[in-house]
Symmetry: D2
Subunit: 354 residues, 4 copies
């Protein structure tokens, strides 16, 4: 249960970190959309490991194959099955800790729930599962392009280092996907230092969507805020999400926080965007802004106290290949999840009026 | 669309602020649960308006009627329909602003989506909709009691005033549901002052669940964190949610943030609970901790710039009866949503193993 | 679980035969639809009991109240809550058989599943539940009217008496809703004779939808045939459903059964309609034709062998007020379910293409 | 949309007849289930083409690969991805009819819905899609084995030839899966004769489930009858489904049709099983009996009148490789769908009581 996201643009991911392959099925993509492996691979390449010194050294080409749902370069409305084969899984490091629970990981909780688990590389709970999200997100993004909706994300803060300037073009120019080149350099240095100390760092990732038409989303339980919240908190390592001012909202008064309306070129606009582009769970037409709290990577190669499946207390030393900070790689995943949410509400919205 | 929450313990709320009645249907409640209007009313009374000087003066008895699903004091497994009639709606204040969009409210976005809306008192987007959540939440909570799971919430911070001490017994002794009586007094004063200034305040609400068995939740898309995130962000005025350390997590390193395991009375425990009771989207058995950013109430009785349905710029003065801070009343709603999430995963979990 | 039908035009029914009220919540109705109690009551009046000598003598006015989702005569997109209060329930007849299981009814199976049940008048399993279906179906039908889709049904056969002529105007002129007035008279006589013998009769109901645009439905699992099948088999007493030729299809060869295409007024048509308006699970544009096998009413006032909750064998005599044949009242329910299916696929179809 | 079946034991199929591969994802299979390619392949081999003179000559090994969700021979609770590569697709026969609509097939309706389709071999609408159903059904069946539930099916009638004797052991001994060896021989002869005439035949398939515990299913909308109805009518070529007496029920009176109860070995039984093992949408504990009307295969190699995408009337000659009667191969698919339904309700039922 629980591997499916979306209501009418629905994805189902599958696969384990050290299994033969991982993939995703996209059901509900409308027919007639231009799709190719190139369009999907472009997004996938942004989340690949082994890209630089700040990511895991595991080498995976992550080449996507389209197995169904696309014919002569366009979607047919049938489910789109996307797959990649795991080629560089190294399970040897996991034999020694097979019966122990790595702190900060899902080992214990999966064991408590299922009683039987694939322990290699985190199995199903590995961040490798996000391959399918990004692949499906690329399809969603292609759909959004037909409506001129654009989604992008970046690292706003890493550990204690916050960005101070914003240059969107800068985002893809540095290893940490930070729009401030000066902060980016300090972030890279901090990550390398943490890696040397066998430690890890977290950060703050922001995702935005622009050109979103007003009125998208569903009220009450499925508010756009709520669905974005679910989407972002389903990403491994994300432990918080805020919309617009979010956790800063309560230091303002109502008068300060309200975004007043005006008319610009015949379109309803707001002077400010403290609401992050959503009111009452529906889009306002202003940019959608969500921020994610990313915890420091749980895999740190220092001895830690833990227990094993027999109920004995042990000391564990987690080896294997890890990202000293997952933040730069959370960016494309968060973009994908945002695109998936928006593709879904964009289609759902067609049923709002007779 | 979007009025349903839950997968096998499912609720559907309905009703508008100034309509004849509001209610909720709970489908999927197991048979054999002791249920009565008293059990449900107890929770409802905690969210009622007109309770004190810090809430809206609207007077609603909010008496629940059980219309189905309960026979001779116990649930039958059939859908439980709960209803209350609106008795003190006053729509007169809304005539003047019928065609205008109140800043911070859903007026504009509902109009953009639907083209036709019940403008009176916010209609469907009113916080009055949460009556059904709390009524259904009381049923969920009754189910959780059979498993000794306990849910409670409180106001941690109001505007700039943070609690400094924690005494759980204190929560229901003061008007703002703050576990620190000294801070509570300052919070009440701040709310009264804001009210006098025709302004409003937000705050930080925390919800906890204790005695949750390990392994509850579903991995990947439906992580427990993610479903709690959706649940909380679907509450009116909530603009952020964090689990455990949440937005503080990224100022820690991985070594600092990881919760190490030990054994206590044969049970797996963690020395700390930075993860807020969840790893890999499943419960750890430690207390579940979620915090909600609540924005200041959007209704402020000062002139604000806005536009109308004709596309003209206007000045609006929102009258009507409002909560100068919704925080104390978000507490029972957040508790209800937490109970609904946990009842659902508690039942779903029965299908985890053969 | 299981009280909800539909994917984006979704209904949830609730209520027991002898509870205080019954009702339905319609979520996902598009905004802007003309709706009134009159429109809904018209359909409800067609399924009422106490209408004639061939139906149960229970007297229920079944007056619908619209509690939400409609403002100034038009739907708002918010959930539409419809309710009626039970006024003529007489539970006295059920005390004597409280612990016994009526043959042909759901008494035993509900008890096996839930261990606790409302035994009065069948409780949740009563055909009274269909009030909500017909009320919601009237909303669906109103939506379909905006697309010129028309749904109607009739009794094709009752027990061994089959219709031999078809005059649509005749359907609502006789007590059994049969388009053949001669057969209708014989059907009424057969029902009265069965009633006198304390017995009951079943029959064959047909539902048609005309003017359905081609391409509605979803392939594979949610084929239009399959969803209609679910819809119809969810109606109490229905034990079979066939589409087009259905169970006659296999006495034909492929060449005989295939509906060949031609062009009429620029529109694709078929010379025959053996497929009943569906190919590959999608509508062809030809009339949709479904037939339902309706079993004879289970309540017969003759002594029958049964067992009780203690596991003892007993003889039961079922009293109470029943329909000697439910067929005429299945007609409006089957129409409602067909309308609900079509409203749902009609809206879903808007997401089929970019 | 529409490629998913099940509520908590959920499958999603994907793939086209002439695409590179087809497959299925099973989400919600409990952990701890013994699973291997052998167990799954055994069921798949029963639906393979190229098995005999009465099936399509297309040669597909249909070897299943398990890509996820199984570790060391047991399910982990993670989604189970099953795949097979298409190896013998021959698209050449479809070039000539690319722009024409084959009568009886989904060509026209897919085109009407999507505007763009994979025409080769029926694309997504091909019966090849059922590979995934049978593969997933084998997993469901393995789960049911842990509860001693057994599912099997057979051909009851083919065209005008009905079985007259029942010997279960006979089913897998003949080419048409008929439990009557004499009738089987006549059926084979009829199929071969139809094939020679370039024609095709349909039939009546029956599926049974034994040892089903009482109380499985969900009432009202998701009645077991209804879900079985959806499941069976979603199988290509199936145009009718009946439960128990089904379309014979209405020739009986209520007294004749009711199944009276008695006690056998402390268990509640019924003297007859006209209800086909279901009352009020829940299982009674008696064998579940469903019958499917299977239309004659639509592909017949005789000239037929049709139209093309330009709206011109044409004559079409459908070539390619087809089953002259699909009935024998519907059997394993119907068994799979029955197993999927029962696995789902079996798990859901765990949430019926506190």
């Amino acid at each position: 249960m629980g591997s499916t996201f979306g209501r009418i643009f629905r994805i189902t991911t599958w696969g384990e970190s050290h299994g033969p392959a991982i993939g995703v099925v996209v059901d509900g993509c409308p027919a007639g959309l231009d799709l190719s492996t190139e369009v999907i691979q472009r997004d996938l390449d942004r989340r690949r490991v082994g890209q630089s010194k700040v990511t895991s050294p595991r080498q995976e080409q992550d080449r996507v194959q389209i197995l169904s749902g696309v014919f002569e370069g366009r979607s047919t409305g049938a489910p789109i099955s996307l797959i990649t084969y795991n080629t560089d899984a190294d399970s040897s490091k996991y034999d020694a800790i097979r019966d122990m629970f790595r702190p900060g990981h899902a080992d214990y909780t999966y064991w408590a729930k299922y009683g039987h688990r694939d322990h290699r590389g985190g199995g199903r709970s590995s961040a490798r599962e996000t391959w399918g999200r990004v692949a499906a997100g690329a399809v969603a993004r292609q759909l959004l392009r037909t409506a001129d909706v654009e989604v992008y994300g970046f690292v706003r803060q890493l550990w204690t280092i916050a960005m101070e300037t914003f240059d969107r073009a800068e985002i893809d120019r540095n290893l940490v996907r930070c729009p401030d080149p000066v902060a980016a350099e300090r972030m890279v240095a901090a990550i390398m230092a943490a890696k040397d100390r066998q430690d890890s760092l977290g950060g703050l990732v922001e995702v935005r969507a622009e050109n979103v038409p007003p009125g998208l989303g569903e009220p009450t339980m499925d508010k756009l805020d709520a669905i974005i919240g679910q989407a972002m908190l389903s990403i491994p390592a994300v432990k918080g999400v805020e919309i617009g001012e979010g956790f800063s909202a309560y230091s303002m008064t109502g008068k300060e926080h309200n975004d007043e309306f005006f008319i610009e070129d015949g379109r309803v606009r707001t002077y400010s965007n403290h609401a992050g582009g959503m009111l009452g769970g529906l889009s306002t037409g202003e940019p959608i802004v969500a921020r994610l709290a990313v915890k420091p990577t749980s895999s740190v190669s220092q001895p830690q106290r833990t227990v094993d499946v027999q109920g004995d207390e042990r000391t564990i030393l987690v080896e294997g290949r890890h990202d000293p900070s997952i933040c730069p790689r959370v960016v494309p995943v968060a973009e994908a999840m945002m695109a998936l949410v928006l593709a879904d509400v964009y289609l759902l919205n067609r049923a709002s009026r007779i």
